[in-house]
Symmetry: D2
Subunit: 353 residues, 4 copies
């Protein structure tokens, strides 16, 4: 019963097979190999637009290198107050940008919407040189609460941001899950909606270690190879990452993997709610279930070997209250989750409740 | 005829097999997996000492994160003037350390020896707060000229450094090649000789992407997990790297790979010199051959599909001169170099000269 | 009618006279002059404790250099959400600390009290390496809302901070005004109350340019001269600043100046309230008056040549609401404010309302 | 006998008088005062060109903020190997630029000339992303060896730099001395010669604390006010610095002060050489005398109360050798040096030799 995180899952056989294939023979180093070239080409096709892609080792690096191209050290980046970059990446944003500041906003919807941005900017005291000037907005798709931004929501946010001269970054660590959930074209929630630069993660969706920074606004990529090198993110045998992307994108494999994970999460959410021992903090729109449950139940689940995460109290919707003996727990389904696991967890909860 | 770099070679079958094995199933993320734990244990055994090991994505990151633990932003790091950190890693040292400065020294030996350090420090105007205070020395084993530090040379340098309150970092991107060349115990040129922190690279010696920071002085590791996270170097599925180290260290595989590469380079060096068309800039003590040859010959080699690197003019021994039509070319042998390749290159050079 | 800011006022005659005296003749540079030595000694006497003092050019530098000694680049600094360091110093805190993050808290009291800190830390997810670890608290005395921390409030906050391993920094840009308002000994709200490091400003209270970083915990000062130099804050003719501090501290001059400014602000607050056209956002406890008034009135005041500052809407007490036509305006009295000015402004307001 | 440094001298009466005048009354803060505006206008007139000027607290800040506008964190700045920025400002250049690297060149002339730059760039391995790309050249006028760049030398260097896409920064801590020595128009060695940005210091030439960053290429100044603020270099009562510049520039006062200092240094150099106990390391072209003298003599001078500086052994011309008992000593004359002092020192040397 492994619902700890999708980054604890193993590697999809199709990806592993390609990785093994790529591991042999001579290839140029530092991103100049055939696999990276092909992966970039496949990304162009997947998003149906010209783009520039760079392959890095971690989602933290992808996010923060991306931010460094749209925020000077004296700029601010508006984000949701549960944003991964604000909560879970230590001081990486500050470090990669040379000191830019995150401005995290609490919202009612659990997402950062155009209206949230506009209200914030309307009252933000941007009087230079004393105040910091926002230069960018960053959102996560899927959001940190497991919610999926609709194409029109991304487009409206991008329009609001661009109208104020801000660029839009998307943390797509689970972009595949969002595309799968929406059943839309990948471009609909990214380039067509106005995203300037995307962190596209495959590691949480079947790959071993594959993260990319994808520039839809290619001018932003001007010094990126240098940024990558000086950050220790230019992997010598970069075919490792390029090959994984090739396999991931081939024949829609990435969306198959994501659809499975999403379906598993939905099953799990339904099963958990049906036990009546648990309520959901947020709808399970993608592959994550944020559940509110008794602390005692959580302890018992752990003792039965369930992997899940003690989550932030502050992540629940405004207006929702936790009882003193309640807590938030995150369950994440992955490409490798099984219906047996889902059933077993639901049965266990029912038996314990 | 692939002598471009050992980081262009493929992955050793034994390592690949273990990597495939590790790719399946659930593992904790962020360095907390079983493979990383076992790899650290195997490193303790290989170096026959307690140590702390952290696994990162690139040699640049390993070097610069290591330096960040022994140099405050206002400190200086003494190194050889051809040091990889000084020449080939862009501004990564400055960035990771928050502004520490490299002090590159030209030397007669092509290595940085105790005497070089002592002479330098004797005349260095370390008058704070105006001048920067050196806090560390960094050497590469194998050196950037393909030379191998003898155990007594490392020990003498460490003693000189420590006597002045400086720590010793070793860039061991090719440490295996040095151990293989010397036929010594790995500890003899590292922990026993006084190295405080080691960057230990496997990527150039048969792995796919495996770099480690190894602390013999474990107190230096105090905040390392945080440094790693904020630098985007805490890989989620870290088993990827841990597993490679396990296979690499298993039954001395790393030294077998290195011995093969070294032997290939020696054969190549001998064969090249025998053609009389080429002379060596430095003895080929490990797996690299630094050759001085006519520019026209280099062009012809490239046109015949030979992979090799146009190298720095300034890398030759002081007192040696390049003729106007000469240049330095680096040939690197790897674990996968074949005697046929070596022979073919030598034959080609002979035929062209 | 000059109430724009106390940093727009001129220099007290006593300070200017000493500055003129110090301007002649030879003095060692870079903080090694007689005036700086004497100023440090006078600070020891004023605070009745051993301390180390360093003289810098701006309050921004004093605050941020102080923070750099108590926050590593991966640490966080808890402060009030209106804190000058959070609102008005651009990205200086991030830059001086190498990336530390401010964690601004909204509070009911307009100050940051022990209870606020404790509640925050109780729910703060300090799970390294993902989350940032708070290492310090920073408050301003006088606070950004013109409120004065009582000695017991500082002591309670310091105790709470220290109990969690956090250090306490005080931004004392208007410390003299706080001491004058409380009628306490300077030590009562600083070293005796548990402040570890103090930014002590004289520029807003009669000096020309005189800011100091005062370490009550002298161990924190270990590398401070180097920090100062590399930040471009080691003024060569440092006697300039040392001499001003000597004059400022001499015979309680600093407190005389502050008492005058405070009294002027209280008169002004009373006079403004008496007009019934204006209400106070906060009690005028020191030398600042935060007034809520009609926007139209503000326009008229400006057109009559009144200097005052359009202030942050968000600075008013929680629970207080601004009407659509209202705004917050800050009036600051200085050592050179006159009762005629105060009366003239009150008369003007009355005539316009 | 005070020849320690021109930054140990007092303040010229004319400057002090203006400073006193400026100290009274209300003025806008943060560089928006009348004095700063007038100082900028006077600089335009002095250099006979449109320019933008910003006033900061130290020469370190002026130099490093200037460099931050012409060097990205991944760029390199070519300078002389005795450059003040390379030797005497700790890690400030790295810090202000976010990690840019200095590339110090040893030269025969004691200056950095066009030929030096061209030779260096011809062999510099600028292969991105591995190597750092030079983006700027920085020279000091007067140079660190007390030498003065001729107008044609600056122009040739600027032409070479610009031809390679590099910008030219001039550290003009002693620019007045250079102008006075050359008898040229200030523009001849700055804007007309191709300098892009100038650090113009007054503190070493009669002011109390007055440093400016002067942009001849005004586009470089785009974000300078923000850079200044976040570096803690935006002095609130900036009139302090503006007023000093007004007095300094008024009626050529800066050049009168510099001519006096230069003449004193020349007298001292002549007198020292005439004693035959001392030889000059470099010609005394401005207000500094770099003398080679016996260590024993230096000790005696100190014991007789002479202020002078033990200087870098490495600063002497290549090809010159110090005897074992010799050292380099720097004597600096200032606007306030007297012929009596010069004579007294010469007499003392003669009596001791």
């Amino acid at each position: 019963m492994n619902f700890g995180s999708d980054n604890q899952a193993g590697v999809s056989p199709a990806i592993l097979q390609t990785l093994v294939q790529a591991a042999s023979g001579i290839q140029s180093a530092y991103g100049n190999d055939d696999w990276c070239a092909r992966a970039e080409q496949m990304l162009c096709e997947a998003f149906d637009t010209p783009l520039k892609a760079f392959f890095v080792a971690t989602g933290t690096a992808a996010n923060c290198l991306a931010l460094s191209t749209i925020a000077q050290p004296w700029n601010a980046v508006v984000c949701h107050d549960m944003a991964h970059i604000a909560v879970d990446e230590n001081s990486a944003p500050e470090w990669f940008t040379g000191g830019a500041r995150l401005l995290p906003l609490a919202t009612d919807s659990g997402k950062l919407l155009a209206g949230d941005l506009e209200r914030f900017l309307a009252s933000y005291p941007a009087s230079p040189p004393h105040n910091m000037l926002p230069s960018a907005v960053s959102i996560s798709q899927v959001s940190e609460n497991g919610l999926v931004y609709q194409p029109h929501e991304v487009a409206a946010l991008a329009a609001s941001a661009h109208a104020k001269g801000l660029r839009l970054h998307m943390d797509g660590a689970r972009l595949a899950n969002a595309v799968a959930a929406l059943g839309c074209h990948p471009a609909d929630i990214t380039c067509k909606a106005g995203v300037d630069v995307l962190s596209l993660g495959a590691s949480k969706n079947g790959a071993l270690m594959a993260e990319a920074v994808v520039f839809f606004d290619q001018a932003l990529a001007e010094h990126f190879r240098i940024r990558q090198k000086r950050a220790g993110q230019l992997v010598s045998k970069s075919r490792l990452i390029g090959a994984q992307y090739c396999a991931w994108l081939q024949d829609g494999h990435w969306l198959q993997l994501a659809r499975h994970a999403n379906a598993s999460a939905r099953s799990l959410a339904d099963a958990l709610v049906a036990t009546r021992a648990v309520r959901l903090a947020w709808p399970a729109e993608a592959n994550e279930v944020f559940a509110i449950l008794p602390r005692a139940l959580h302890v018992q689940l752990l003792s039965h070997g369930v992997r899940c995460s003690d989550w932030y109290d502050t992540s629940i919707p405004r207006g929702t209250a936790l009882a003193a003996d309640e807590m938030v727990v995150r369950f994440v389904a992955s490409w490798s989750s099984t219906s047996d696991e889902v059933q077993a967890l639901a049965d266990l909860v029912r038996s314990l409740a």
